[in-house]
């Protein structure tokens, strides 16, 4: 009888492994590779300038962007190709507006880039020679946090070879620029990645931020903040503002790795924890995750 029980348990366990275990084809034996940020280098555009044609018209910008990407490559880091994304966007007709800022935002969103580097190329012509200046700025796409800013200068030369000057301008600052970025990445590794949590209500919701919830009868906004205090990585969070119908955390730190399993952690997993919290309070929510922003809609 006990033998039959043992066989039954063994069959049950093996079937559970087959259902929930990792596929052998993708099983790395527990090795975890940290998910790297996607970085895209884009040209700076003034108001009214056409982002779609600006690169085709201005070879100095193309050279500057290629040189910046070369800097990332030399550190063994692959960037998302802006021109390829632009072409894909054109092919897929993703542009729905003529507004240039919107197009830039749309490309950044479509590319899924976590970080984008903006390059502004300034050509200066003078009697004492010509020069090129370059302004490099790196931002976190979701939060707008600045990661690195540098100005590079080619120096003045009696030459009309602006391509070479653009290249020299990038060379003068790219290493320093990348070093500062890396210092910010180290801060992210140590203190967590910044995400935004936007909590609002559906029109038919019976709840408001002042509604008393849970066993303690705390106002909902306070219950949320206490949860955030306990769950933000290293207790690091910032509230942008709270009204009766909205609560925005504009900077919540989450770890890059799950602190218990060592697996990669992302905003979606943090969103799941929030879902569990609201479920415990008996509140139904809608949850959307877009890049590094979690939208919670209380129903």
């Amino acid at each position: 009888m006990s033998k039959i029980k043992f066989i039954a348990i063994a069959i049950l366990l093996s079937s559970l492994t087959a259902v929930f275990g990792q596929n052998k084809a993708t099983d790395s034996g527990g090795q975890v590779v940290t998910v790297q940020p996607k970085i895209m280098v884009i040209p700076y555009t003034k108001e009214g300038e056409d982002l779609r044609t600006i690169l085709e018209q201005d070879e100095n910008k193309r050279i500057a962007i290629a040189k910046i990407k070369e800097g990332f490559d030399s550190r063994g880091f692959t960037t998302v190709d802006f021109v390829a994304k632009l072409k894909a966007a054109k092919d897929n007709n993703i542009f729905t507006s003529d507004n240039q800022t919107d197009i830039k935002t749309q490309i950044v969103e479509m590319s899924g880039a976590d970080v984008y580097v903006q390059a502004e190329v300034i050509v200066e012509k003078g009697q004492s020679g010509n020069s090129v200046k370059i302004i490099l700025t790196a931002y976190e796409a979701s939060t707008g946090n600045s990661l690195s800013n540098k100005i590079g200068e080619s120096g003045r030369f009696y030459t009309d070879d602006f391509n070479k000057l653009a290249s020299k301008a990038v060379e003068s600052c790219i290493d320093d620029f990348l070093n500062v970025m890396q210092a910010k990445f180290t801060d992210i590794v140590n203190n967590g990645k910044s995400i935004i949590v936007d909590i609002s209500f559906s029109p038919e919701s019976e709840y408001r931020m002042s509604t008393e919830v849970g066993d303690d009868g705390l106002p909902l906004s306070d219950a949320i903040e206490i949860w955030m205090e306990e769950n933000a990585f290293k207790n690091n969070y910032h509230i942008q503002g709270t009204t009766d119908v909205k609560m925005i955390f504009d900077d919540v730190r989450i770890p890059l790795k799950d602190q218990s399993t060592g697996n990669n952690y992302n905003p979606n997993k943090f969103g799941l924890e929030m879902f569990k919290f609201f479920k415990k309070l008996g509140i139904t929510i809608g949850r959307d995750v877009k890049g590094s922003t979690i939208y919670i809609t209380i129903k």
Binding site: G71, E171, D175, V180, A183, F185
Partner: protein, 152 residues
């Protein structure tokens, strides 16, 4: 007899005090020029002979690049970190081979003395222009896990 004991005691006390005291040598490393891949600096080294002084000058350059950063260059931030004793303890094997095993030499592209050997307190001093292969140095630190690769 009492006097002799007192003198011996004083000598031992002074020796013990000196042994405990950490002397931080001045870096005396100044930026000359650089590219994306290399950096050239002027460094002053001290040693009991020319060879030791030269090695000291070269190693000071790496100390500055690793733990201080070099103003005006592309490596303004320290490559490894500001807390040199913690970093050296954490990566003891690497730094032992690098400094004591003179592995640093593999990253020195040129080391040209620009002054003669002069007598100074603690030995002989020499001024050297040292050119470092910065890219190879960074890759090496990454390969041996002393610093993280670019990214998270």
């Amino acid at each position: 007899m009492k006097n002799i004991s007192l003198i011996i005691l004083t000598v031992f006390a002074v020796m013990a005090f000196n042994a405990c005291r950490t002397i931080y040598p001045s870096a005396e490393v100044n930026y000359i020029s650089g590219t994306e891949q290399t950096v050239t600096v002027r460094s002053v080294g001290i040693g009991i002979n020319e060879e030791k002084a030269l090695i000291n000058a070269e190693q000071k350059v790496f100390d500055v690049l690793f733990f201080r950063g070099l103003p005006q260059s592309n490596q303004k931030l320290p490559m490894v970190g500001s807390d040199e004793s913690a970093e050296k303890t954490k990566h003891k094997d690497y730094f032992n081979k690098f400094y004591d095993g003179k592995r640093h030499k593999t990253f020195v592209m040129s080391s040209i003395p620009v002054s003669g050997l002069t007598k100074v307190k603690g030995g002989k001093s020499i001024t050297v222009d040292v050119k470092i292969n910065l890219n190879a140095l960074r890759s090496d630190l990454e390969t041996f896990g002393v610093i993280r690769k670019f990214g998270y």
